[in-house]
Symmetry: C2
Subunit: 233 residues, 2 copies
């Protein structure tokens, strides 16, 4: 683990353990630099990582402050590679509907940049949070990257599996979403009624080298899903 990551982690842990209130001032860069025995740039790099996550804000000429904590139960769309890591203190369970290997549909082929006839993994599952339906998810995976997938893996955190077991390096993603009405079939999956609202959410994940390997479509339950984005100018 890199120096700046370690420092960021330590400071973050210290904050989330409740040693600071929102608005509290942290030690100055100079002080932190001496505490951790590293150069100024390294401290700043660590602090910028925390700022990006929404934990703190850096006020030039003034100091380093703890930011408001996000509302409980809100999904942070910022650092989003799956839910499981995000919602601390809530139980997330996945109910797998199916895992299959099928020829990639036209639309998926384009998004994953695959040739005609290429097979992909399809995964359908329902995600529950604290026993309530959070969303229905349909994902397609490029088999060149996601070498293997089965139901028991899909019941857990796929991204953790990809990183730890398959050594996939997840780089970035594109998120697109819009609000819509549910059709009858979709409604039954979410225990809702036809024409109820939903968030239609699409996310395409790329490796660090820019290969798209996961194209997912999600339907979020309008009463159970809430979102948060820490944004910066």
């Amino acid at each position: 683990m890199l120096k700046y990551e370690q420092i960021a982690l330590q400071i973050n842990t210290f904050i989330s353990e409740g040693h600071f209130q929102a608005g509290d001032k942290l030690p100055s860069v100079e002080a932190l630099k001496e505490k951790y025995n590293v150069s100024k740039s390294t401290i700043i790099k660590a602090l910028e990582a925390l700022e990006k996550k929404g934990s703190i804000y850096l006020a030039r000429g003034s100091g380093i402050y703890v930011r408001n904590q996000k509302r409980d139960g809100y999904l942070n769309l910022f650092s989003s590679s799956g839910f499981s890591d995000e919602i601390v203190g809530h139980s997330v369970t996945n109910h797998v509907i199916r895992v299959d290997e099928v020829p990639a549909p036209e639309e998926v082929r384009q998004k994953l940049k695959l040739n005609e006839g290429t097979e992909v993994y399809v995964l359908e599952r329902i995600v529950h949070i604290d026993g309530n339906v959070l969303c229905y998810e349909k994902s397609y995976f490029n088999k060149d990257i996601v070498l293997y997938l089965d139901t028991s893996i899909a019941e857990g955190s796929i991204f953790r599996y990809l990183e730890k077991n398959l050594k996939v390096k997840i780089g970035f993603s594109d998120i697109y979403f819009t609000v819509d009405k549910l059709d009858i079939d979709e409604a039954s999956l979410l225990n809702l009624s036809a024409s109820d609202p939903c968030l239609r959410y699409e996310q395409i994940f790329y490796t660090t080298t820019g290969i798209p390997f996961d194209c997912s479509q999600l339907l979020y339950h309008y009463e159970n899903a809430h979102f948060y984005i820490p944004s910066q100018k």
Copy 2:
């Protein structure tokens, strides 16, 4: 303007002028460093800014590549301080319903950290995009920061006015949203029907020194509003 900002701007302009396709490789850090006559760190800082915006991605050991361009008409929630700057090639117009000075409601007082009885500006307006209703917006402004506001200002870009005229330094913001059904009054504002879907969106803006000065509630039209987030691991 800072060196790294200038470089970032130049590279970005070059890309958006269409000199590159998605996936194209940019010159190496070494080459850029010589081209712009700056140190390596400065180039990297510029590139990281572009990466954050979603224009490029940096692949260690491989190179710098142009990222897919976002879908047309999608609002980029990442760098979001108002719409006007975001949606290039689309006409955005604001129809102001009212601008008033009122005692801050309880909820607003908490979010803007104001004392009881403090007056705030309220602004209500409808935002149109290419002639269609995009959203209804109700904003409250801290009068200590937003010293003056009137209808003609609210018809334009408030954030540009705040930065240029009032020298407000916008730092960061918290975004919260959820999907919901419209009630009758809300529906009529958006030219929709009661119980149609909508995106209920709230954003609290802070100055660079952490003072909350704008607390806005928006209702997005479910057929006309689409969103995009370039996300990174």
